[in-house]
Symmetry: C2
Subunit: 243 residues, 2 copies
DNA sequence: CGCGGCCATGTTGCATGCAATGGGGCTCTC
DNA sequence: GAGAGCCCCATTGCATGCAACATGGCCGCG
C-alpha cells in the first residue's frame, strides 16, 4: 500500500469526502475540479476514481466518468448480513483450529476494555471511542486468526462500504441510556463468542457471529426509522436503487 | 462495464494472459512492453494494472510497478472454502425466501442438462463443455436469486481468482472414468441442493452448498497431488507464499 | 409558439513528454 | 583479486496536450 504518491492521497481524500458527506450520493466526480481541489493533475485522480469503482464507492456514469454510488437501505442491510456470514466463517475456523495463547490474550484484553468502557452507566465521548477501538480490535483479531487470506480480503472489502463496518453504528443510536443498553448487549455477545471460540465450539461461534451482525442490522433499522440519519442522507438513498 | 475502450481491452487481455500462463506468477508487469504488445499507450495499461491489483491478480512490486500475483496452494484452497461459505449463504437465502416459479424452471433445466451430459458413460469434449455451462448457470441462478447484491459481488470477486471458480475444475481431473465419477457425485449434490431449496430447508441447503465446495477442494488437491498441474504451475507457487 | 437540428462547449479518454527514483554494471582502489 | 563506490540507464509516476464524444443551448423552421 503506497502511503506516498499522489494517487494514494487522492484515493484517501476522496473516500473521506464521500464518507463525510462532502461528496453526496449521485454527485458526479469530474476530474478537473477534483484535480484542482486536491492540487494535483488529472492522472492520479483518474487512477483513484478507478480504484473507487473497484471498492464499490463509485459507479461509471453514462457518457463516461464516474459518480458517487448511491446506496439503498436494502443494500446496506444486505452488506451487514454478508459481513455476519463472513465473520461467522472466521469464528468457526478459529474455533476449529483452536485459540492460541496469544490470541486468547488479545481477545480477553478486548473484552476487559469493553467491560471498562461500559462500566460507568453513562458513555461519554471517551468511553465511546474506547469501545469502538475495542470493537474493531476484537473483530480484526478473529478475522486474522482465521488464517484465510481470501476471507480477510472479503471482510475488508465489505467493511469498506459505508455503515457495513463492525463499529460503524457504535456512536450513533438513540438516546444515551438506549445506546448503553445496545452496546452492553452487543458486548455480552462478544463474551459469549470468545467463550465459544475457546471451547472449540465452531458451530456455536458461527451462529453467535451471525447473530451479532443481525443485531447490528436491527440497530441500523432503528437509526433509520428514528430519523437520526444525520450524515446518512448523503450516502443512502431512501427511494429505490441506483445500481 | 465499458466493453469499448483501450483500458478495458488491456484488462481483459492481461487477465487472459495470466490465466493461460502466458504471464507467469512473479513476472514483472512492465508498462512499456505491455503497451507495445497490446498496441496502445502506457496510460490504459496503467489503469488496467491498477484494476488487476484490485482483483487480486497483481501485487505492487518493490520499487514501483506491479508483478503477477503468486498463489499458494493454501490460498486457492482457502478461496474455494470461502466460495462455499458465500454460496451457502446464497442457498440459505433462496430457501428462506422461497423458490419462484421461474427460478424453479431454471434450476430443473440445469439439472436436466447435467443429467443429459452425464448420461453417456464417457464424457467427450462436448459433454464436458455442456456440463461446465450447466454448472455455471446453476450456481449463477442461485447467487442471483438470493437477492443480495453485496453477496453477488463477493462471489464474483472470489470467482475471479484462478481455480476458485465453480467450474474451474470441471475439465481437469484425472482419467476419464474417474472424472465421470467425480462429476456424477457433484451433480447428485446439485440435485439434493435444489431439493432443499424447493423444500425451504435453508440450513440443509447451506450445508449442502458448503459440502459441494469442499468437494471441489478435495478434487483440487487430487489434481495437485497427481502432478496434473499443466497450466497451474504458471499460477501456483508450490513453495511458500508471496503475499 | 413549439419543435427539431446545429453548433459550441465542457468533459472524458488516450498519447506523449519529463523529472525522479532505483538498479545494474563498470571501474577504481586497496 | 575482491570489494566498494560511482555513473548510466531503464522504469515508473505525474503532468500536459490533443482528439472524440456527449451534453446543453440557441437559432431557424414549421
Amino acid at each position: 500500500m503506497p502511503l506516498t504518491g499522489q494517487a494514494a492521497r487522492a484515493l484517501i481524500e476522496l473516500r473521506a469526502r464521500i464518507f463525510t458527506g462532502r461528496l453526496r450520493a449521485g454527485d458526479r466526480l469530474a476530474e478537473i475540479p477534483l484535480a484542482e481541489a486536491l492540487g494535483m493533475s488529472r492522472t492520479p485522480i483518474r487512477l483513484a476514481l478507478s480504484a473507487l469503482q473497484s471498492e464499490g464507492l463509485a459507479v461509471p456514469a453514462p457518457g463516461g466518468g464516474f459518480a458517487v454510488r448511491a446506496f439503498t437501505v436494502r443494500e446496506v442491510d444486505d452488506a451487514v448480513a454478508l459481513r455476519g456470514q463472513l465473520e461467522g466463517m472466521a469464528a468457526r475456523l478459529v474455533a476449529e483450529h483452536g485459540v492460541s495463547r496469544g490470541l486468547s490474550r488479545r481477545l480477553h484484553e478486548a473484552l476487559d476494555q469493553g467491560d471498562a468502557a461500559l462500566a460507568r452507566g453513562v458513555l461519554d465521548e471517551e468511553a465511546l471511542d474506547a469501545y469502538g477501538a475495542m470493537n474493531t480490535a476484537l473483530h480484526a483479531a478473529i478475522a486474522e486468526a482465521a488464517g484465510n487470506a481470501p476471507l480477510s480480503r472479503a471482510i475488508a472489502a465489505v467493511e469498506a462500504l459505508p455503515f457495513a463496518s463492525a463499529s460503524a453504528l457504535v456512536p450513533s443510536p438513540g438516546s444515551a441510556p438506549q445506546r448503553h443498553r445496545l452496546l452492553t448487549f452487543a458486548h455480552q455477545q462478544h463474551h459469549l463468542l470468545v467463550e465459544a471460540l475457546e471451547a472449540g465450539q465452531g458451530t456455536r461461534a458461527e451462529a453467535l457471529a451471525r447473530e451479532h451482525a443481525d443485531n447490528a442490522r436491527r440497530n441500523l433499522r432503528l437509526i433509520l426509522d428514528s430519523g437520526e440519519a444525520e450524515g446518512l442522507a448523503a450516502l443512502i438513498t431512501f427511494s429505490d436503487a441506483v445500481a
